[in-house]
């Protein structure tokens, strides 16, 4: 798989976690692609932290309205039944436990469910935006990312970069498999048949617990 195919593969698998009626916030980049794979007939309410619920697809060329943009500042649309609100209400939704699922990328994630995705000291300090609130408040936190950074493990025993939040990650989905963060550590629940368990472990610094009923990762 090339890079785009890997991203689409991960996004498709994340989409299988969606449940009818879920309120979902998708991070920028790969997580945004999950919106392309919402199962037909399923009602998902996409929340946009800049101030609305009911995020729709990009407008037709020429119909962009810069007053309706997503959290990346790009023109989008709002679906029928959607609603606009201010940032206090937006984060009441996010922090108050009204978001069923958030999907974010990561620089590092560790076996205690810690996440680092907002800065590399001295190099890249974009700021956390809404990520810290999302990870703290959402009922389910899914990290969707490529398994390694050019071969270097991103799933670690302990994050070394500044944390976005402590002990909040529930699930990690990569091109190699689906992992759940538990009290005992990271459990490999599903594996992409293109890889062996050894391949996955060799790309992971944290020691994986292999689920007794390890399944094939399907999209």
């Amino acid at each position: 798989m090339d890079k785009n195919e890997i991203k689409a593969f991960i996004a498709k698998r994340v989409a299988k976690e969606l449940k009818d009626g879920d309120v979902v916030n998708l991070g920028i980049g790969l997580p945004t692609m999950v919106a392309n794979y919402i199962p037909e007939g399923m009602n998902i309410f996409l929340q946009s932290e800049n101030g609305f619920i009911g995020l729709g697809p990009a407008p037709e060329p020429g119909k962009e309205d810069m007053r309706i943009v997503n959290a990346g500042g790009q023109p989008v649309t709002i679906i029928p039944g959607g609603a606009f609100f201010d940032s206090a209400t937006s984060f009441t939704i996010i922090r108050g436990g009204h978001v069923d699922m958030t999907v974010l990328g990561a620089l590092q994630v560790d076996e205690k469910g810690n996440l680092a995705n907002w800065m590399i000291p001295g190099k890249m300090v974009p700021g956390m935006g809404g990520a810290m609130d999302l990870v703290t408040g959402a009922k389910k936190v899914i990290i969707a990312m490529e398994h390694t950074a050019k071969g270097a493990p991103k799933i670690l025993k302990e994050c070394t970069l500044p944390l976005t939040a402590a002990h909040q990650v529930d699930m990690i989905i990569t091109e190699m498999g689906v992992m759940e963060v538990t009290d005992k550590g990271i459990v490999l629940k599903e594996i992409n048949p293109e890889f062996t368990i050894e391949d996955v472990q060799n790309s992971t610094e944290a020691e994986l617990i292999i689920a007794e009923d390890l399944k094939k990762m399907e999209i």
Partner: protein, 218 residues
């Protein structure tokens, strides 16, 4: 009571060294005409409280590029490379705040609260130097209120008393900042007579607004 003033009169109220709040999210909902005039008049050493520093050529990002900001309090600066450059070069102080915390700090400032307790940031560098308070076994950070000398906000339809109706995703921090500054100036896309707005549609009551500037359609 006449709240209508020119853009020049509005910007003349902003002096070197003041703390200003500017509503908007990556430029969406920024009061663009006032910002352009602020750039033209080159007011310096401002402390800017805004969700982000937008893009270099859009909204509040222009104030950063023009070296008018001494200190920035924001949740995200990644879309404006000039912010990162000035921060790393020590030319501008940047305080990064989780977005939900920033919203509540501004709300607290306007609502007469002594601060808010949030779980966001516990166990991260954000908790450094802050008081931690445990309520019913859960740890929270005490985040203090934020206020400003002047708030610059934008509204879609504004009546001559300052009642504001918003459009789309432009309300973001505008509704909150309208409550949290000594002087509040709204840039209106459209100004209407008192009585023309249905009170059911008003989001920001006019009592919060001191001055109104005609921004024209953005």
């Amino acid at each position: 009571m006449n709240k209508l003033i020119s853009i020049d009169e509005a910007v003349d109220m902003i002096k070197d060294g003041m703390t200003i709040m500017v509503g908007g999210f990556l430029g969406c909902g920024n009061p663009h005409k006032i910002i352009d005039k602020l750039v033209e008049k080159n007011v310096k050493d401002l402390t800017l409280i805004c969700n982000d520093s937008s893009f270099p050529d859009y909204g509040v990002g222009k104030l950063v590029v023009n070296h008018q900001i001494k200190k920035l309090i924001a949740s995200h600066v990644g879309t404006n490379p000039e912010t990162g450059r000035q921060m790393n070069a020590g030319e501008m102080e940047v305080v990064l705040v989780p977005q939900g915390t920033l919203a509540e700090q501004v709300r607290a400032g306007g609502a007469g609260l002594g601060g808010i307790l949030t779980p966001t940031g516990v166990g991260t560098v954000i908790e450094e130097g802050k008081q931690k308070i445990t309520v019913d076994g859960v740890e929270y950070l005490l985040e203090k209120p934020l206020k400003a000398d002047v708030a610059l906000i934008s509204g879609q339809k504004v009546d001559k008393f300052g009642n504001i109706v918003y459009f789309g995703a432009t309300r973001n921090f505008n509704t909150l900042m309208a409550t949290a500054a000594d002087t509040v100036i709204v840039e209106a896309c459209e100004i209407v007579e008192v009585g023309d707005l249905d009170p059911n549609d008003v989001v920001t009551p006019g009592i919060f607004v001191d001055y109104i500037v005609d921004g024209g359609a953005n």
